[in-house]
């Protein structure tokens, strides 16, 4: 079976890439398209480090066959990062709150948390824990991560109010 061409939107830009049948979205994004923020941790849906957004919903991209994103919109940690070296409010809160430690789980955590904050600007602690329930931090730094999401939510609400 020869690889076939798949077209989808990646971080706002249309891309066409060759892929093997059932190639995981994670492998396509990371290995073929060079966006190395989407980490392969377990390759079996257990760790969450490969979390990306498809049409705004978080997914474990190691479990998504590339064929399923044909014509759909994929957003990775690179697409959630502002241009020009700035950090998003969520990234800034992670950075300042020492919520990264080794950093391997951070892109998945931020991608999952960003989808939560899109639909719920003021999540409770329980809602944050629930939204991150598929994301594992092997450094066991989950408490600063929860705190960073709460801080980011507060900053983003303040920015919204200032803009209104």
């Amino acid at each position: 079976m020869t690889p076939r061409a798949i077209t989808f939107e990646l971080n706002g830009e249309p891309v066409t890439t060759l892929a093997e049948p059932l190639e995981p979205l994670q492998a396509v994004v990371h290995d073929r398209l060079g966006l190395t923020g989407t980490k392969a941790g377990c390759r079996q849906g257990s760790c969450g480090s490969c979390t990306v957004q498809v049409d705004g919903e978080p997914v474990l991209s190691c479990l998504v066959p590339i064929e399923h994103v044909e014509g759909r919109s994929v957003r990775t940690i690179e697409g959630l990062t502002p241009e020009g070296g700035e950090l998003s409010p969520l990234q800034a809160a992670f950075h300042e709150g020492f919520a990264t430690q080794c950093g391997f789980c951070s892109p998945g955590m931020i991608t999952a948390a960003s989808a939560l904050l899109e639909r719920n600007p003021n999540p409770s602690r329980e809602e944050i824990i629930e939204a991150l329930s598929n994301n594992v931090c092997r450094c066991t730094g989950i408490e600063p991560i929860i705190q960073a999401v709460q801080d980011a939510a507060a900053r983003m609400r303040a920015l919204e109010e200032a803009a209104a």
């Binding site: 978080p58 479990l63 998504v64």
Partner: protein, 275 residues
């Protein structure tokens, strides 16, 4: 790598593709098959995908008709039946529930299958499509076959009738979420006057597939549901179990927890359930 991946555009096309190739394997959301494909365990095989076969969605018509490709997340968000939604929330984590499908969960052996005990307690049926057309089979009957859906057939929907009675769902696991069930018990009790007219008791995660505890149900019907009746039902339900041993719990522990959680489920259902 797999030979090819064909996304069927209808359930009929999927059933035909599967019937034409005995080695072909059907894939729903991919949460269990994708890791196998990545590890090379499906090399050379044709995989038939249902993601675009129009099998996703929940329709309410008296009871529920849940398309086989409906994400577990949608069941978790249901208000009714509350016990079914609660069981759905035991599946994986929040992100995974958007990818795991109801059909996959119902057909997989433990540690999957968290929906099955409640579905058994609610007298659910499977809608299955094969070369002879669509058939409906009670879930409890389907589970007597391995696999529950035959070669060349696909599960198209799970039918949940609107049944009466008080329902309880009790789950034992190491963590509240993201942790496999050690025991999961669903019970339903319907009274006529003071006497129990109908009882359902289903036990999941103890054996490879969930089981209905027929003897316990019979022990309850006709009684008032007093302590003697509950003791008899617990003994009947757990005496016949053959608990598995795994990393989450030893067979001995599973057996003890089965006893405790069957008692809790029966007690709560007899006290009126959780609505």
């Amino acid at each position: 790598m797999v030979a090819d991946y064909v996304l069927a555009s209808t359930p009929e096309e999927a059933a035909e593709l599967l019937a034409a190739d005995p080695a072909a394997i059907v894939m729903g959301g991919g949460t269990t098959l994708m890791p196998r494909a990545t590890r090379g365990q499906l090399n050379g095989r044709r995989v038939v995908g249902l993601a675009r076969a129009g099998l996703s969605g929940i329709a309410r018509d008296g009871g529920l008709r849940i398309g086989a490709m409906t994400p577990v997340r949608e069941v978790a968000a249901l208000e009714e039946p509350a016990a079914l939604a609660e069981a759905a929330r035991a599946v994986g984590g929040a992100t995974l529930r958007g990818q795991a499908t109801v059909g996959g969960n119902v057909l997989m052996e433990r540690p999957y299958g968290d929906l099955v005990p409640v579905l058994l307690a609610l007298d659910a049926e499977l809608e299955v499509l094969g070369s002879g057309g669509t058939r409906r089979v009670p879930l409890v009957e389907a589970l007597k076959n391995d696999p529950p859906v035959g070669a060349g057939e696909i599960l198209t929907a799970v039918i949940v009738p609107d049944v009466d009675g008080a329902v309880s769902y009790q789950r034992c696991s190491r963590l509240a979420t993201g942790s496999p069930s050690i025991v999961a018990v669903a019970a339903r009790v319907r009274r006529e006057g003071d006497a129990i007219a109908e009882a359902r008791l289903a036990i999941g995660a103890v054996e490879p597939r969930a089981v209905r505890a027929d003897a316990a149900e019979e022990a309850l019907v006709g009684t008032s549901g007093d302590a003697d009746a509950v003791n008899a039902a617990v003994a009947a339900a757990t005496g016949a179990l053959n608990p598995v041993d795994d990393v989450a719990a030893s067979a001995w522990y599973r057996g003890r927890m089965a006893e405790l959680f069957v008692r809790r489920a029966l007690t709560e259902a007899l006290e009126g359930g959780r609505g």
